[in-house]
């Protein structure tokens, strides 16, 4: 019946897996580490490396043993290509524990074409620190409940339209997720722009529209801030990414969006982290007016 007030418990260290298998490529290096104390800055180095672990992957029925490359880094003992459509299982033995994870390798993906357009002139834009709405704060008259810090800026809007071919495998497109991302190399806060302009998205592949040529496509945008209306458009590099994955990686991405509120869901049974198979295509371009 007793109720303890605000305490800060500590958990014993848990193994953390970081493994992304790329479709059509060799089996990847896998990083194994331990959780750290909340009282200290977390360093992904030897201090948190998971040592003395036994690790192996199984692709369909083929066992792929791993060996230690350096503290916390494990590599396959032989080069094996990740076959699209194959089932994957990770088995990790550490400290008398067996940690397991599963996923499925998606079919390869590639950007078919990209269209870029830039607004003719700068636009007035609203910058919000947050639009976070927390109903539990309404009663306290907390202004944070409706977001604060609104101010105006001038921005150019850059739009990008991506096309890609649908997966040719027999798998139901309902099973696969597509993540798109526009990542400009700019030294500017992205919070507002991510919120309103959607420089990235995560959806089931089947939800993307198909054009007349049978290609699926998506349009996104981002903003580039300038000081005055007469400032020219700042040229920059843009990385465009297209990812196909199973539900596992989709959950990880959507759960990682607000680390102040929550941790991403994990598919590591007995630990934390992520073991996911992806198909990725990336394009780097220069954007200028």
């Amino acid at each position: 019946m007793c109720g303890c007030d605000a305490f800060q418990p500590e958990s014993p260290s848990l193994p953390v897996v970081e493994a992304f298998v790329m479709s059509g490529q060799s089996m990847p290096e896998i990083t194994l580490k331990r959780t750290g104390s909340i009282a200290e800055r977390y360093q992904s180095d030897e201090s948190t490396a998971l040592r003395d672990a036994q690790l192996q992957l199984t692709m369909s029925d083929r066992v792929i043993p791993y060996s230690v490359k350096s503290p916390g880094k494990y590599v396959p003992v032989e080069s094996v290509i990740a076959v699209p459509g194959a089932d994957l299982e990770l088995e990790l033995q550490w400290n008398n524990q067996i940690i397991l994870a599963n996923d499925q390798i998606p079919g390869p993906i590639s950007l078919d074409s990209v269209e870029i357009s830039i607004s003719d002139e700068p636009l007035e834009s609203l910058v919000l620190e947050s639009v976070f709405i927390d109903p539990t704060l309404l009663d306290s008259l907390g202004i944070q409940a409706l977001g604060t810090g609104a101010r105006k800026e001038l921005v150019y809007i850059v739009e990008a339209k991506l096309y890609w071919a649908e997966q040719s495998q027999t798998n139901n497109p309902d099973d696969w997720w597509i993540r798109t991302q526009l990542r400009p190399n700019l030294d500017q806060s992205r919070r507002l722009f991510n919120y309103f302009f959607s420089p990235e998205t995560l959806q089931l592949e089947d939800n993307f529209p198909i054009n007349g040529k049978g290609k699926r496509y998506w349009s996104g945008a981002y903003a580039v801030s300038i000081e005055t209306k007469t400032d020219p458009f700042p040229g920059h590099r843009l990385r465009i990414s297209l990812v196909r994955s199973s539900q596992t990686y989709a959950d990880f991405v959507s759960g990682s969006s607000n680390p102040r509120e929550r941790e991403p869901p994990t598919n590591i049974r007995g630990g934390r982290g992520i073991f996911a198979a992806l198909a990725v295509d990336t394009l780097l371009i220069n954007v200028y007016q």
Partner: protein, 893 residues
């Protein structure tokens, strides 16, 4: 029955008598076995025989001295039948012993009864009303003092004590807030009309209606709330508000979300049914839960059932709040006007004719009248109209027509509305600080970037009730009602000159129902209440959202959801009084939601036992709830203020609770009432969020389709247990109130693999509230304090990082091993209250000032953790209100 002492005639007649009464009591609890009774009396004084018989055999026998004086009896009896023994004693006496219940008898004059046209037995029955307004008083107690027989008036103020031998009976009638009335009641064809006078002392007796003199009149599980008393308890925002006051009871917590409402015993807010004149109300809170739609003056009776309900109530797991609007006075027009920090209110009641009365009550905020709702602005380039429409109101009216002594017809209308209509520059720096506060348009300038937030919600209720005393033993109540809840949320935001967010969301709930309740006073020991109700519900929601991200990129979300269903309920319960100190109330409620998972049976039982001066009570039962309250947990464009109700279906089971409670209360010195209750419950099938930490932080969520909403929830299990202590002290000019609760409320989601229970979001292990008030002539001073554990929060226990292939650097995360594994610091609030009453030109004024948080404590009401900060204290604290004064002035005329 008063004894009439005639002058005792002394007779010189000599007599010889011999009485031999052999009593063999096998056990001390008066279990009489064969051959226990032996009487051998010859010409013995009847009074002495009866006295001895009653004493030795521990029975109750009621008679007057008139019936036994100067009478003699000869009887020889050996056996084990009390009735036969009494018949032997009364032979040749023109008297008869009539058994009321086990081991309880009353002497009846045979000659008198035969010689008259009166029936041998009948009902003592009548209506109990307020002496001034003639407002009927539900829940009043009628207690026949010599027989220790009691009854309680129903919602029409009607009571009946059937199967009573002809005669007159001394009765005491009591009701909270009224002076006790001692009177003689007799069997009549027409119901008696009993008028109670309001208590001359404003401070009313105890709230928990545990009258030790008539314990059997208390329903298990019910807390009847004297409206006037509750309105005197301190509460935010200093205005008379019934639901705010309820949180002074142990285990009843007002929660601080826009979902609003109360939670009982750590449950969920949607687990309480709110009724006004028998009709459900869905959203009973104004402005983010600060003020309820229950204005104190408009109600004559409020009953709160915690955990254990009579069979007539159901449909929720934790509690039922049953409020009755006032009928209105038949005597004269009276009223009250008040003004507080948030709103002004007016109450009127009075007669329309000698049979028809009215009540009208209204409350409205006035801030929009001060600052204005629309503000034309012009900066020479642009013109616009900014809006600051913030208002709320609630109105209630009731017409009551006393058709005859036996019939009554009432029409209740209730409505409430909230409007929050804003159109302001999105860039707050455009708000100019000027020397004059008003008009508000001085502060505002036009802007291309604006935001609009127009949300409004309303309740409408119409209740028509017909009550008819069909016979002395049968009382009929028919209630037809329609009730609706409507919410509209509109958001418009222009983040750039070429993009916009435009969303309109509507939510409608419409209920139309018919209830028929019958009270059948079968016998002195059985009061049957049965009824049937049919309720047709319609749920409708519609979303139309368009996000124009750029001139060429847009997304929309449109949807519509409509659900119709019918709920049918049949119930029956018996209030059985097998012993004068014991009441057992078994009941059963059978319900079906058409299209759901079939018929559900909810048995209930309540037991009361009087061990003077202690009253013990026990209750157990099953409750079924067909409605789940959910909201989209992703999008900021809809489900902001409103929560959606989703009925059970073949894919979503109704939730059910199994609960039991035991408790007792003691009334000491008629001024101190102490009540203690222990409870335990187990709940199945209620909806828990799949991700408790998910917050609304996206523009377009998954939509308003039923599957999209329900997909965010999973079925949960809950257990709760605890104890509740309440002390109420009312003596002279002093009044004190202490409530303490200790309990736990735990949840788990089995489908998410949770094997262990974790604290529920309203789990409060300890809570203590103290209030003391003292009257000094025209002044009332008070001090109050609240202490409770903080709400559970989820705190991290470790940290780690992961690097997404699309990221340039690792992202830090906290490891949250378990939901609600931590707790905020205690919530503490001390307050002072002061009131002054004065009379001016036949009007009674009262000024009430209340200051809360007098010790300047900034209570912590939330905590965020930032994994980018390395220190242990990497949390952001969110604090509650600073000290705040509250003022209200009322005038009664």
């Amino acid at each position: 029955m008063y004894v009439t002492h005639s002058s005792r005639r002394h007779s010189n007649r000599h007599y010889h008598w011999l009485i031999v009464l052999c009593v063999f009591l096998i056990t001390p609890i008066s279990v009489v076995k064969a051959q226990d009774i032996s009487i051998d009396a010859v010409n013995a004084p009847l009074a002495e025989i009866l006295t001895s018989f009653v004493s030795n055999h521990r029975i109750d026998l009621v008679y007057s001295q008139r019936q036994v004086v100067d009478r003699y009896s000869t009887c020889k009896y050996i056996g084990n039948n009390v009735g036969a023994a009494l018949a032997c004693i009364l032979a040749q006496q023109d008297l008869q012993a009539v058994q009321l219940r086990r081991r309880q008898f009353v002497l009846v004059d045979i000659v008198e009864r035969r010689s008259s046209t009166e029936p041998e037995s009948g009902s003592i029955h009548g209506f109990i009303s307020d002496g001034m307004s003639q407002e009927v008083l539900p829940g009043a107690h009628i207690f026949l003092t010599q027989l220790s027989i009691g009854a309680t008036s129903n919602e029409a103020g009607y009571f009946a004590i059937p199967s009573m031998p002809t005669g007159k009976y001394q009765a005491r009638i009591t009701f909270i807030g009224y002076a006790a009335l001692d009177t003689l009641l007799e069997i009549n064809t027409d119901p008696s009309s009993i008028l109670l006078r309001r208590h001359p002392i404003e401070f009313q007796p105890a709230i928990i209606t545990t009258d030790r003199r008539s314990p059997v009149s208390v329903e298990p599980g019910v807390q009847q709330i004297p409206v006037e008393r509750m309105s005197q308890l301190p509460g935010f925002p200093g205005e008379s508000d019934l639901l705010q006051s309820l949180s002074w009871f142990p285990s009843i917590q007002k929660i601080n979300t826009n979902q609003g409402g109360l939670v009982i015993r750590g449950g969920e807010p949607d687990q309480i049914q709110y009724l006004i004149d028998g009709a459900p109300v869905y959203h009973m809170w104004h402005v983010g839960g600060m003020l309820s739609v229950y204005q104190s003056e408009a109600f004559k009776d409020v009953r709160l059932y915690r955990g254990s309900f009579p069979a007539e109530h159901g449909g929720r797991l934790s509690g039922v709040l049953d409020a009755e609007l006032k009928d209105g006075s038949l005597n004269q027009i009276t009223g009250m006007a008040g003004i507080g920090l948030l709103s002004a209110r007016l109450f009127l009641e009075g007669p329309i004719s000698n049979k028809i009365s009215f009540m009208a009550s209204g409350r409205r905020s006035y801030i929009d009248w001060i600052i204005g709702r629309r503000h034309p602005v012009d900066n020479g380039i642009m013109q616009d109209t900014m809006r600051t429409g913030v208002s709320l109101y609630d109105v209630s009216t009731k017409l009551t027509w006393r058709l005859s002594n036996h019939q009554r017809l009432s029409l209740g209308v209730y409505g409430s509305s909230d409007i929050l209509d804003l159109r302001l520059p999105a860039d707050l720096s455009l708000i100019r600080i000027t020397s004059s506060f008003l008009p508000l348009s001085n502060w505002l300038t036009p802007s291309e970037l604006v935001f609009e937030f127009d949300t409004r919600w309303s309740n409408r209720l119409l209740s028509l009730r017909y009550q008819n005393l069909l016979s002395k033993q049968v009382f009929l109540t028919v209630t037809g009602y329609g009730t609706s809840y409507r919410a509209n949320e509109r958001i418009f935001l222009r983040p750039t000159t070429t993009s916009s967010v435009n969303s309109t969301y509507k939510l409608d709930i419409l209920d139309v129902g018919l209830k028929i309740d019958i009270d059948y006073y079968l016998s002195l020991t059985h009061h049957i209440r049965a009824g049937v109700s049919v309720l047709q519900r319609r749920f409708f929601s519609q979303l139309d959202a368009l996000v124009l991200r750029t001139q060429t990129i847009s997304e929309d979300s449109e949807g519509q959801s409509e659900i119709d269903n019918t709920e049918i309920v049949i119930y029956v319960q018996d209030t059985w009084k097998p012993l004068k100190k014991l009441q057992i109330q078994p009941g059963i409620r059978v319900s079906e939601l058409r299209g759901s998972t079939g018929v559900r049976v909810s048995p209930r039982i309540g037991i009361l036992y009087d061990l003077e001066p202690v009253t013990l009570r026990m209750a157990a039962g099953v409750n079924v709830q067909y409605l789940h309250q959910v909201r989209d947990r992703y999008s900021v464009l809809y489900d902001l203020i409103s929560y959606r109700w989703v009925p059970a279906s073949r894919s979503v089971d109704p939730s059910a609770s199994y609960h039991a409670s035991v408790g007792g209360s003691i009334l000491l010195g008629n001024y101190l009432n102490v009540a203690l209750d222990l409870y335990i419950h187990s709940i199945y099938g209620f909806l828990l969020p799949r991700n408790e930490e998910q917050t609304k932080d996206g523009l377009l969520g998954p939509g308003i389709g039923l599957a999209a909403i329900l997909g965010q929830y999973t079925r949960g299990r809950a257990i709760g247990y605890g104890s509740e202590l309440n002390l109420q002290y009312n003596r002279g000019v002093s009044k004190a109130w202490i409530s303490y609760s200790a309990g736990r409320s735990h949840n788990r989601a089995p489908e998410l693999g949770e094997d262990d229970f974790r604290p529920g979001r309203f789990d409060i292990p300890h809570r203590l509230q103290v209030s003391y008030q003292r009257t000094l002539n025209h002044w009332v001073f008070g001090v109050s304090g609240q202490w409770r554990n903080g709400y559970p929060i989820t705190v991290p226990e470790a940290r780690y990082s992961l690097q997404d292939p699309l990221s340039n650097e690792p992202e830090g995360f906290f490891y949250y091993p378990k939901i609600n594994n931590g707790r905020l610091p205690p919530y503490i609030n001390f307050g002072l209250q002061c009131g002054y009453k004065f009379r001016l030109e036949d009007v009674n004024f009262q000024v009430h000032l209340e200051v809360n948080n007098i010790h300047f404590r900034r209570n912590l009401i939330g905590r965020e953790f930032d994994p980018t900060i390395p220190q242990r204290t990497s949390s952001t604290s969110i604090y509650g209100l600073p000290p705040y004064p509250l003022l209200e002035i009322t005038a009664k005329f």
